[in-house]
């Protein structure tokens, strides 16, 4: 029996997937609540696509289970998927059909979808003029946009998107980002995997970071970034300053960047920090808060050099 919470749209409980002796996903516990835009981040081979395939029932879990809309998908997959739209990694279409006919086919599988809705979506993703062309003539970016249209066709409550901006040019990426943000604003729940950290930072209000099949951290983006807060300063005696700062209990780390010190500490402690240094005859030449990006946070959490997927 699932623990039903009407606000929880997607939940994974101890989700595990093995391929023979290879552990692709280990004991994943996720929760995505209604109206959230949840970014699912992780380096190459972290298990993001496996997680999405498990959520959508394409793969059978080796352990654990998925709940969609409060229902265990082992018993209610079909009903749950009728309320879900998805774009899988690498869009797939019938190449001998036009974009419009592809949407008619997908619409038929989702229950009857009328021609007006198909036209609306072609308009939304900027393919109205190319709707009658065969999909085999579409660029990857056009296919990606058609994939989004297919996912939105039956007005789903939950969207599961695997790398939705792959293959898009910068303008297309911005359009998709804005579309996803708008979907969040009108109350849709979005679960999106991406390797583009800046993109996730702009689109998502919540994020989960996965590595080697394990969830490392998750939470609201704003809260996670606060955890990475830092103060940047120039001081008269950096060596002495480091000694003083290391003695302060709320300083989480200190690193030198050229002639500056970057001190991982809450911004609200700036005055106390200044006083502590002055008490030891170290004086500030410059002090300012340093914005932490999701990329820095990601690198710190995953220990990765360069986040890629």
């Amino acid at each position: 029996m699932s623990s039903h919470d009407s606000d929880t749209v997607l939940r994974t409980v101890g989700l595990t997937k093995r391929y023979g002796r290879v552990l692709a996903l280990a004991d994943l516990d996720l929760e995505v609540r209604r109206g959230h835009v949840y970014g699912f981040l992780g380096p190459n081979g972290a298990g993001k696509t496996t997680t999405i395939a498990l959520i959508l029932g394409l793969l059978a879990p080796s352990g654990g289970h998925v709940e969609l809309f409060g229902q265990d998908t082992r018993a209610h997959l079909s009903e749950a998927l009728r309320r879900t739209g998805a774009v899988l990694e690498g869009p797939s279409f019938y190449p001998h059909l036009s974009g419009r006919d592809n949407l008619r086919v997908w619409g038929g599988l989702s229950g009857a979808v009328d021609g007006k809705r198909v036209d609306e979506l072609l308009e939304l993703v900027g393919l109205r003029d190319r709707g009658r062309d065969k999909v085999r003539a579409y660029s990857l970016g056009m296919q990606q946009r058609l994939g989004l249209a297919a996912a939105l066709l039956h007005e789903p409550e939950l969207l599961v998107l695997d790398e939705p901006t792959n293959g898009l040019d910068p303008a297309g990426m911005r359009e998709v980002r804005e579309l996803i943000r708008e979907l969040g604003q009108i109350g849709k729940t979005v679960f999106v995997s991406s390797h583009l950290l800046g993109e996730v930072e702009q689109m998502c209000d919540h994020v989960g970071i996965v590595k080697e099949g394990r969830l490392l951290t998750h939470g609201a983006v704003s809260a996670l970034l606060r955890r990475g807060e830092a103060l940047e300063m120039r001081v008269t005696d950096p060596e002495r300053a480091v000694q003083v700062l290391e003695g302060l209990p709320w300083v989480n780390g200190i690193r030198r960047q050229d002639d500056r010190l970057v001190v991982e500490a809450p911004r609200v402690r700036a005055a106390e920090l200044s006083r502590a240094l002055a008490d030891h005859q170290v004086y500030l030449a410059e002090l300012r808060p340093r914005d932490s990006s999701l990329e820095e946070f990601f690198l710190e959490v995953t220990g990765e050099g360069e986040p890629r997927d």
């Binding site: 696509t49 395939a53 959508l56 029932g57 394409l58 793969l59 059978a60 997959l77 079909s78 009903e79 998927l81 009728r82 879900t84 998805a86 899988l88 990694e89 690498g90 797939s92 279409f93 019938y94 190449p95 001998h96 059909l97 006919d101 008619r104 086919v105 997908w106 619409g107 038929g108 599988l109 989702s110 229950g111 009857a112 297919a150 039956h154």
Partner: protein, 286 residues
């Protein structure tokens, strides 16, 4: 369910394959009626004229067309079915279909139903074209266009004859469906059905030649039972030229058509069970 079937039919009817199937079957019917039938009848010695006549003149041409249609139709339906099933894996569209709320059983059932409908329409059209050609050839040969001959069929008999031939195609279509589903490949489905049909025809010929228990073992094969069904389609006692390259045992050597239908039903169920169980348990990866 109706909208899913409509979507499946939209996919299949916009492919070139059903039209090629129709064209090949219609061309085969034309060859059978004119070349193996009419021309052969005109050029033959008197003792062979009767069998040539049965290949093109009504009402015997109905049996001849259905006999050849079953054999070549089984191959073409096998190709159509294997391609319809396996290309979805090749294009990756099977994943897209399964994330839209269709159950896996529904997905396979709709695919099967769609292929069956398209194949049935194509084969019936080809049969209709063959009958039209037969009417023309019968008239050109200055023979009466009538069903009223010794052992001639009624309209109901003709319907039964069509159903028997169609039923003879079904296990081969399902074999191709099963192979393509399990192998996720058109090549596996098509090569499998061709190897099976020609291999089985050779084996049945060999077993019949050996006689005794070996000949009795033919009763378990698909081909022998299909021959039993088609033998029930014969009009009168005479034989006809057939384009189907398969052994033509004596009617007395064949199982009862009702028993044959039962054996074929078991084959059909086995192929369906293998396909559905495999597909339900499978991980669908990109």
């Amino acid at each position: 369910m109706t909208s899913m079937l409509a979507a499946e039919l939209l996919k299949v009817r916009k492919r070139w394959m059903p039209y090629v199937l129709l064209l090949v079957m219609a061309a085969g019917a034309a060859v059978q009626i004119w070349l193996l039938g009419y021309v052969s009848w005109r050029e033959s010695e008197v003792e062979f004229q009767q069998s040539a006549l049965r290949a093109f003149a009504l009402p015997w041409s109905l049996s001849a067309l259905l006999d050849a249609g079953q054999f070549w139709g089984a191959i073409l339906v096998g190709i159509l079915t294997a391609s319809t099933v396996a290309t979805e894996h090749g294009w990756g569209t099977v994943r897209q279909a399964l994330i839209r709320g269709q159950t896996r059983n529904q997905y396979l059932a709709i695919k099967l139903l769609g292929s069956a409908l398209i194949a049935a329409v194509s084969l019936l059209l080809a049969f209709g074209i063959g009958v039209c050609l037969s009417v023309i050839a019968t008239a050109v040969a200055d023979r009466p266009i009538s069903l009223d001959v010794a052992g001639g069929p009624s309209a109901l008999d003709i319907l039964l004859m069509i159903l028997r031939a169609g039923y003879g195609i079904l296990p081969y279509g399902l074999l191709a469906f099963c192979l393509a589903t399990v192998g996720r490949s058109t090549t596996v489905g098509v090569a499998g059905i061709l190897l099976f049909m020609f291999g089985e025809a050779i084996l049945l010929g060999v077993l019949g030649g050996i006689g005794g228990v070996a000949a009795d073992a033919r009763a378990f094969s698909m081909g022998h039972n299909v021959s039993a069904l088609l033998a029930a389609n014969r009009i009168g006692l005479g034989d006809y030229n057939s384009m189907a390259p398969r052994p033509n045992p004596l009617t007395s050597d064949l199982p009862d058509p009702a028993v044959a239908a039962l054996v074929l039903a078991l084959y059909c169920l086995a192929f369906l069970a293998i396909a559905f169980v495999t597909f339900r348990r499978r991980d669908i990866r990109g």
